[in-house]
Amino acid sequence: MVKQIAVFLENREGRLSDCCKVLKQADVNLNSLSIADTKEFGIVRLIVDDSDKALSALQAAGFLSSVVELVAIEVPDKAGALADELIALSDSGVNIEYMYSFAGKDGHANIGFKTSMPEKAVAVLQAAGAKVL
């Protein structure tokens, strides 16, 4: 499992860069940043090297932020292996609320997703031979 930090941002100019500045000042490294937004607000999802430190720095700076655990796997080197793992997941009835890829420590590609049944997802993925983080 990987800890993802979700931050609510009003679409005011500079809010995203303020958020990044807070992380930089707290000496937190970003592994991934993705934004889902509308005309008026956005949700930024971050994966960082120290999620506790990032969360307390963001909250102290007044950002509405929370931690959500994601199931994450390393993208396999073998062609077709990722498709097999995802098919296994889908066949087992595990729901996926959202999913995205992010870089691992060694530059390796990872995929993380949110599900309401994380234990089952991990078991299915492990059985399919995936490298679960």
């Binding site: 979700a6 609510f8 009003e10 956005g42 909250q59 007044g62 950002f63 509405l64």
Partner: protein
């Protein structure tokens, strides 16, 4: 301590009426003789002081409106020469001119007694430490509660408004058990106290507080009482009449006990100005029965409320003022519908995903009124999907429409970003050019 002045606060209805009658007869004669604006008003209506024989005759008297006070600025309404006045207070006006109230020493004493009665209702006594976080100055909040605390024999901490970190330090170090400030400020203090991780009951020893000078809802009261584990009393006052202490509620919350031995309340229909019976909502009108510096007769407060005369378990026998539901000044007319900020507050308080802080922006686009309500998300809400935010907004918009009978655009913002005010909350920006 149960009462500050038992014999007056628990006086029988008949005795109270006799006292009010005696005082009204006296004050009308005094006003006629000493205040030119009243002599002119009464002469114009053909009413003579002798026509007023008891409190039942009060409806024969002329009303006073804020404009009368502005016209008399600064001293035209005073019944005493300047040498007899010991203090002036003034309330700010958006239109420029201030309205001034002058007090004699006796006026200050009477006001202090009323404020002291209020502090007792909040749980205070002569042993109390009373922290006053209302602003000190022309605004009556600070000095009003200050003198009330001293009258009570309590120890007053004149913290005044602002510098929240220092306020909290004083609360911790001095151990105040009673606090006086605006409802929006006590909520802000509670947030800061929680954020600092201070322990309620250990670090913060508050037992009660009187909160006023701006409208607040029953939901806000519950929020304050729960967060700080205190008795939160609603206190009413206005500088033209005296300041805080004109009315205040006790622990039974049956309405604010009106200090009707000194200030006589009526409710009148906003349009016809006819007096309304107990229970009916209209404009609160107050007559000062004992004031010397600047008596006011049937002063129209612009506050919308009702009165009740139900017995209160506390034993106080005064008539009671139910929660102010709005100000005729604050009332917004949106696409022909009357909207009071208090209606918006009660919707916000029922929703755990947001805080009670809000700001209203009103504009007119293509000849149509638009209302935007900017609301803070609660710091405790967990949001990782756009759809969650949209869901909170949709629900709030639907609740708002059903409460106000007019639709509003809801804008959600981060916690702590809607401005808190230390005086009267300035929650409305009306950009319409009417």
């Amino acid at each position: 301590m149960q009462y500050f002045q038992k014999e007056i606060e628990t006086m029988s209805k008949e005795e109270k009426r006799a006292l009010q009658s005696e005082r009204l007869v006296k004050i009308v004669k005094y006003a006629y003789e000493n205040q030119a604006p009243y002599r002119a008003k009464m002469d114009a209506m053909g009413v003579k002081p002798e026509d007023i024989k008891s409190i039942d005759d009060i409806s024969k008297l002329p009303f006073t409106v804020k404009q009368d006070l502005r016209d008399a600025y600064p001293f035209g309404m005073m019944a005493r020469p300047k040498k007899d006045l010991v203090r002036l207070h003034a309330s700010s006006a958006t239109t420029g001119k201030l309205t001034v109230a002058g007090y004699t020493m006796n006026d200050i004493d009477v006001w202090g007694e009323c404020a002291a009665r209020s502090l007792v209702m909040a749980g205070g006594d002569a042993e109390s430490i009373v922290h006053v976080a209302y602003g000190y100055g022309l605004f009556t909040g600070g000095l009003g509660m200050h003198y009330g605390g001293e009258k009570l024999g309590a120890c007053v901490v004149p913290a005044s408004a602002g510098n929240t970190q220092k306020q909290i330090q004083l609360l911790v170090d001095f151990g105040a058990d009673i606090i006086c400030c605006t409802p929006s400020y006590i909520i802000y203090l509670a947030e800061e106290i929680e954020r600092m991780g201070l322990k309620i009951g250990e670090d913060i020893k508050l037992k009660g507080g009187v909160f006023g000078a701006e409208a607040w809802s029953e939901g806000m009261r519950e929020d304050i009482e729960k967060r700080l584990n205190i008795r939160a009393c609603d206190i009413y006052g206005l500088s033209e009449i005296a300041g805080p202490g004109v009315a205040c509620d006790c622990q039974f919350k049956t309405g604010m006990h009106f200090q009707d031995d000194h200030f006589y309340p009526e409710i009148v229909d906003v349009d016809t100005l006819e007096p309304l019976p107990y229970g009916e909502s209209g404009e609160l009108v107050i007559t000062t029965l004992t004031k010397e510096g600047m008596p006011l007769i049937r002063y129209r407060t612009r506050d919308i409320a009702s009165l009740n005369d139900d017995p209160c378990p506390c034993g106080r026998t005064s008539v009671k003022l139910n929660k102010i539901t709005g100000r005729s000044d604050d009332m917004l007319i949106i696409r022909g519908v009357n909207v009071f900020p208090s209606q918006i507050e009660s919707v916000l308080l029922k929703n755990p995903d947001i805080t009670p802080n809000y700001h209203i922006n009103v504009d007119r686009v293509n000849n149509l009124d638009t209302m935007e309500i900017v609301v803070e998300l609660s710091p405790n809400v967990k949001l990782d999907e756009v759809a969650h935010v949209e869901e909170i907004r949709r629900k709030l918009a639907a609740d708002m429409t059903s409460a106000l009978s007019v639709s509003a655009k809801i804008t959600l913002v981060s916690p702590g970003t809607v401005a808190r005010s230390e005086g009267k909350a300035k929650r409305i920006t009306d950009k319409r050019k009417l």
